[in-house]
């Protein structure tokens, strides 16, 4: 594929890996906060090419994996309503709620359809006029503009059998919450590639200025990640905390204003629970009052329960890099890849899931 293959050139990767090895002179801890980065690093086997002193920690980068049990319980209760069709991204159907998950209730007869785009939810609503289609609006800043655009389109078409359960979130608040922990010792942040298309690189300024974290916005291909890591390590070596853009072919400083305008038209920020991290202020997208007819919570009168984090789960600490999976009392016992509790295990490449696979 053009503009993909060139960035996977094995020779270039090899040389960049060697350069990274050369610049890493002491132990360095970098956090990545993007599910696509996590997956890309995994599938290309990048970890095996990183120098030992470079520790790469998986942060809360996967919007599906940080969807709280309370929200999943709400999804399930909607799925079990007569005449409701749930339209959802595929990776959400196995995320556990308190007692069950969407794939289990689907087996019991609930109608749960996997879609590839929120617009597919509109199409479903059109072809099922006697049912109400609920789209599960999970995602970060890359996905939420599309969800907002879909709500706008639904309002233009005056659809009365389509609504969205808004569980979208934004990245900066959890980062702030993590970085505020005095015990956290992260030297640098590999900033998300596609989220940054929307937010612009300016969104990470506060991390450098307020917390002294070195930041580099990175693309997803192996050469992108290696180059970004080299730039990060150089910043760290030189004692600089800057925000650099290594994905300039797609990311700018200002970001995508059109997308942000659409977000602002449809959504407003509200406090929202993050699996493993608890409630974080003004970190989630709620649907504005004027779009209430397309807000599933209002349309279907849903109560979202406050579900406390399961006893023992130490995902929060693991996400901050403060402890390793075996230090968590439920790891490998109540919490396994087939029965995950927190996001570190829900994500197939989360810290705990990866640890489980590699050390079995």
């Amino acid at each position: 594929m053009k503009y993909v293959d060139e960035f996977r050139d094995p020779e270039l990767v090899g040389s960049l890996a060697a350069e990274l090895d050369a610049v890493v002179s002491r132990p360095v801890r970098v956090m990545e906060v993007c599910g696509t980065h996590t997956m890309s690093i995994f599938r290309h086997g990048l970890r095996s090419l990183l120098p030992e002193e470079l520790q790469l920690i998986s942060g809360p980068g996967c919007p599906v994996c940080v969807t709280s049990a309370g929200h999943v319980d709400a999804f399930i209760s909607m799925a079990q309503l007569d005449n409701v069709i749930i339209a959802t991204f595929g990776d959400l159907i196995r995320v556990p709620g308190t007692h069950s998950s969407l794939d289990r209730v689907r087996a019991d007869g609930a109608r749960v359809e996997v879609v590839y785009s929120p617009m597919d939810g509109l199409t479903l609503a059109g072809s099922n006029p006697d049912k109400t289609v609920v789209f599960l609006g999970v995602g970060f800043e890359t996905t939420c503009p599309g969800i907002a655009a879909t709500i706008l389109e639904a309002s233009r078409r005056r659809l009365d059998n389509f609504c969205v359960f808004s569980a979208g979130k934004i990245m900066p608040p959890p980062l702030r919450a993590l970085m505020q922990d005095p015990e956290l010792s992260i030297d640098g942040l590999l900033c998300p590639g596609h989220v940054s298309i929307i937010t612009g690189t300016g969104a990470y300024r506060f991390l450098a200025d307020e917390f002294g974290i070195s930041c580099v916005v990175s693309g997803f291909e192996p050469t992108d990640v290696l180059r970004a890591l080299i730039m990060l390590v150089r910043q760290i070596n030189e004692g600089r905390a800057d925000v650099e853009n290594a994905y300039s072919r797609v990311v700018t400083e200002e970001g995508n204003k059109q997308a942000r305008a659409i977000l602002d038209t449809v959504f407003e920020l509200e406090d929202t629970p993050w699996r493993g991290l608890g409630v974080i202020a003004r970190s989630g997208f709620g649907i504005r009052e004027e779009f209430a007819p397309w807000d599933a919570v209002k349309k279907l009168d849903i109560i979202v329960q406050d579900v406390p984090e399961p006893k023992g789960c130490r995902c929060g600490d693991i996400l901050k890099g403060l402890c390793l999976p075996p230090d968590c009392p439920v790891y490998g016992k109540r919490c396994t890849p087939l029965n995950p509790i927190g996001p570190c295990m829900v994500s197939s490449e989360g810290t705990c899931a990866a640890y489980y696979k590699y050390t079995m």
């Binding site: 053009k2 270039l12 617009m119 655009a149 596609h194 050469t223 180059r227 730039m231 072919r249 997308a259």
Partner: protein, 83 residues
């Protein structure tokens, strides 16, 4: 993914509506509600969940590659705010 064709909004109210994009023999329709400026056939789009979220700058792509090569050869001076 490369833009093959732009489809205008049928109601004529909102300009370019979606695009047919293609990569290696797979094509799909993506919405253009989120792009800052309308793309042209031949442009490369970043696509996410059925929406185009940005156009890829070919000029910057080549620059990215060049910077990577320089970095790999140790020619890029070793530091300073990059890109």
């Amino acid at each position: 993914m490369r833009v093959l064709e732009i489809i205008e909004d049928p109601t004529g109210l909102f300009g370019a509506h979606s695009a047919i994009v293609d990569a290696d023999g797979i094509s799909k329709e993506v919405r253009l509600d989120l792009v800052d400026h309308p793309p042209e056939p031949g442009d490369y789009l970043i696509v996410h969940a059925g929406f185009a979220v940005n156009t890829l700058s070919e000029h910057e792509a080549l620059r990215n590659l060049q910077l990577m090569r320089e970095m790999a050869e140790g020619l890029d001076g070793g530091g300073g705010p990059g890109a």
